[in-house]
């Protein structure tokens, strides 16, 4: 299946490339990391077609576009490297000194440094993007994973999966200012656009913790109850909040659902059925569409955000995991 998808992708790439060039308005480029496929699938958000499949390092998971959109940073976990993909040429141009087994990363709003969670060493590593040098290392809890950066760039949060904490780190001093206990196996941390809240998903506890970013107190722990799905299969991983803070979308893993949470009441509004083993999600910049990766069904589900409907499923590589979308 993967082979034929790739072949189809290559055939479509030429045609679709022309289409995109002809009509760039509203068309964003979507990058999906295929954990087992060792590749990045490139999609067009307007045509919802695969443009290209780029071979990369082993076990690519967390991915993030640089501020200028010219490079895609890829955590190639089994190569113990963060690879720098030049988007225009489709070539890997450099490796960042990430340390072993990088899984997720984030970037300071100014464009650098890059923050990488090193699960093996219980460290958060800050790397200067241009110089490709480690500028700081912060000791955190056991198995750091999710990395969130506040919109004002003053705070970076890393979640540690075995310690079960969100560690708040001052980006100027690189010291931990607060530690907040959250549910078991916290995997992802996302600040709201106004910087007032931090949303943390806990995969094993099956909850999302919403933390007041100022007081560092838990506002609410959100649980999920999907009819017909066993509680142990509800495993939140990725989370995204709309810019206006009105809605949050939570990927529930083997529950095969994305939960829609009201950003004001913090109540679950709806569950959207997607593919199997949903990992991560990303909005288009206009927030018209949400792309979610389904690790066990080898596809990406596309959610129409205003109508809260799943509008398409696009086959990608084997075991899609991370997703990032261009700003233009």
């Amino acid at each position: 299946m993967a082979v034929s998808a790739e072949r189809a992708a290559m055939a479509i790439a030429v045609v679709a490339g022309l289409l995109v060039a002809a009509d760039p308005a509203g068309a964003y480029t979507v990058y999906v990391s295929n954990e087992k496929g060792n590749s990045i699938t490139v999609l067009d958000s307007a045509t919802l077609e695969v443009l290209q499949t780029i071979p990369v390092g082993q076990r690519p998971r967390g991915i993030k576009l640089t501020k200028d959109g010219k490079q895609l940073l890829i955590c190639a976990s089994d190569d113990d490297a963060v690879q720098v993909l030049d988007v225009a040429s489709g070539q890997i141009v450099a490796d960042l000194p990430s340390g072993p087994d990088p899984e997720q990363l984030n970037i300071h709003p100014s464009g650098s440094p890059v923050y990488i969670a090193n699960e093996d060493d219980n460290l958060l590593t800050a790397i200067d993007l241009d110089g490709r040098k480690v500028v700081a290392e912060v000791e955190v809890g056991v198995e750091p994973e999710g990395v969130g950066v506040s919109p004002d760039g003053k705070t970076v949060v890393v979640t540690s999966e075995t310690t079960n904490m969100a560690h708040f780190i001052d980006t100027e001093t690189n010291e931990i200012s607060d530690n907040v206990l959250v549910g078991q196996r916290p995997r992802y941390a996302e600040f709201t656009a106004d910087g007032s809240q931090l949303w943390v998903t806990s995969e094993v506890a099956g909850v999302v913790t919403v933390i007041d970013a100022k007081t560092r107190k838990v506002i609410k722990t959100i649980g999920f109850d999907v009819p017909g799905v066993l509680p142990e299969n509800i495993q939140p991983v990725g989370v995204r909040v709309t810019k206006d803070g009105s809605k949050a979308f939570v990927a529930l893993g083997p529950a095969n659902r994305v939960a829609v949470v009201d950003g004001k009441t913090l109540e679950v509004e709806k569950y959207l059925l997607v593919g199997q083993r949903v990992w991560q999600l990303a909005f288009t910049p206009d927030e018209a569409l949400l792309f979610v990766t389904n690790g066990n069904s080898n596809d990406v589900s596309v959610i129409d955000v205003p109508s809260l409907k799943v509008v398409k499923s696009i086959p990608v590589g084997t075991a899609p995991w991370g997703v990032a979308i261009s700003q233009q």
């Binding site: 809890g141 198995e143 506890a205 509680p231």
Partner: protein, 434 residues
């Protein structure tokens, strides 16, 4: 069947760990002199030379939570495969790595965990070791001992603020008629293991089992668990065939030739069956069966495909991190007993961080409450069954090289949680805590 699923990495000698040589183990076997001379230095004392050990608390507001590990040495047969020799630090290394995890977290919660190992030589009395741990302030003690020793220790600790974790004994009676209020079990019992295996065999549509059983009491216990599992999940035992030979020398100059003739003969003339299920915990003959059966059939049970709490090649649900961390630390693969000890020590770390205290009553109550849950690389939180203190956990089905599956299997339904289809469920529990 729990202890040795796989080969070992060669284990280099570690700095400062002078008690871990084979010759000293032999010395312990031959004589009780150690008891007279006093116990060997504990790992906690030795650990102080380790630069990775957490700094000792300098200010008064750091709470220290001491954890004990009582290991009763027992006489064992040499395993048939030299890949399966039990490491000297089996279990203890698992507890130590969990201690490091707890102490990393403890930096943020102002909690420090200390660790003390008491090794009781073969035939030695474990009670003084228990008393020593209790008297030195240990409320939480991992017990790595046979069932009858565990019961003696439990009775001796009765009425005290002591919680014991059974990390080794698989005996069902410890969870049934002999269950104890002051014991939690991180070791799966034989019923859980047999159920986990049976579910996989039935899912695979291999429901007809020829059972090859040994003569030891443990083999009879495992056979009972297999019979129960067959009844629950739709398996059929077509015949039970006893291997009557008692273990002789584990090696002989005549080598494989004899075995190659014996095993086909032993399995000849069986009614039609799908899989040969072995109940031979002492490895008298079980490991000889794969590839030597009269009919070409897979082997499962205590040999071949096994049900295990952990496997050194298990990598799902973030387990890769755990395996890497353990191998770097212990210089060998992580085995089921290491995992069972890890779970016990992490249970304490998780609970003390949640209640914000090392207070015995608070921690003990929290572990048994609905709020407790531990992320333990099994794809769902692990918890303790209220009715018998057994850890509720998915079980790995694996051969020597790789995991094949994880039970519970799809389609075996339960009214509350599927993982309670493994082992003794509440309605069948005979446990009345005392």
């Amino acid at each position: 069947m729990q202890s040795q699923p796989c080969r070992q990495l060669p284990k280099p000698r570690r700095r400062g760990r002078t008690i871990r040589t084979l010759s000293q183990l032999v010395a312990a076997t031959l004589s009780l002199l150690l008891v007279v001379l006093g116990p060997p230095p504990s790992l906690a004392e030795i650990g102080e030379q380790d630069e990775t050990a957490p700094p000792s608390p300098s200010s008064g507001d750091i709470a220290t939570i001491p954890i004990g590990y009582l290991k009763q040495e027992v006489k064992k047969l040499i395993p048939l495969s030299r890949l399966d020799v039990e490491p000297e630090d089996l279990g203890i290394a698992g507890a130590e790595i969990a201690l490091k995890d707890n102490n990393t977290t403890g930096k943020f919660t102002k909690q420090r965990f200390s660790f003390e190992v008491e090794r009781v030589p073969i035939g030695g009395d474990p009670i003084p070791a228990l008393v020593k741990l209790i008297d030195s302030g240990h409320h939480f003690i991992l017990v790595d001992a046979p069932a009858e020793i565990l019961l003696r220790l439990s009775d001796a600790a009765k009425g005290k603020d002591v919680l014991l974790f059974n990390v080794r004994a698989m005996d069902e009676n410890l969870r049934q008629e002999d269950c104890r209020a002051n014991v939690l079990h991180t070791a799966p019992d034989r019923a859980m293991l047999a159920d986990a295996l049976a579910q996989y065999l039935v899912w695979k549509r291999w429901p007809r089992w020829l059972v090859a059983k040994g003569v030891f009491p443990e083999d009879k216990d495992y056979l009972e668990a297999l019979r129960r599992a067959a009844k629950r999940f739709g398996g059929t035992i077509v015949e039970e065939r006893e291997y009557k030979e008692t273990p002789g020398a584990r090696r002989s100059d005549t080598g494989q030739l004899l075995v190659q003739r014996q095993m086909p003969a032993f399995t000849q003339g069986a009614p039609s069956y799908d899989v040969l299920v072995v109940a031979d915990e002492h490895e008298v003959f079980g490991p000889y069966l794969p590839y030597r059966t009269w009919d070409p059939r897979p082997v499962a049970g205590t040999a071949g495909l096994k049900a295990l709490s952990w496997h050194p090649a298990h990598e799902q649900w973030g387990a890769t991190q755990m395996q890497n961390r353990f191998q770097r630390f212990a210089k060998r693969f992580m085995l089921p007993l290491d995992y069972q000890a890890w779970v016990a020590v992490r249970t304490l770390g998780e609970s003390t961080s949640r209640v914000g205290s090392g207070d015995f009553a608070k921690v003990n109550a929290f572990i048994r409450s609905d709020e407790f849950g531990l992320a333990a690389f099994k794809g769902q939180k692990v918890t303790f069954r209220r009715w018998d203190g057994q850890l509720r956990q998915p079980i790995i089905i694996a051969d020597a090289e790789l995991p094949v599956s994880v039970s519970p299997q799809e389609g075996f339904l339960h009214q509350h949680t599927e993982v309670d289809t493994l082992g003794i469920d509440q309605p069948e529990s005979k446990c009345k805590f005392q």
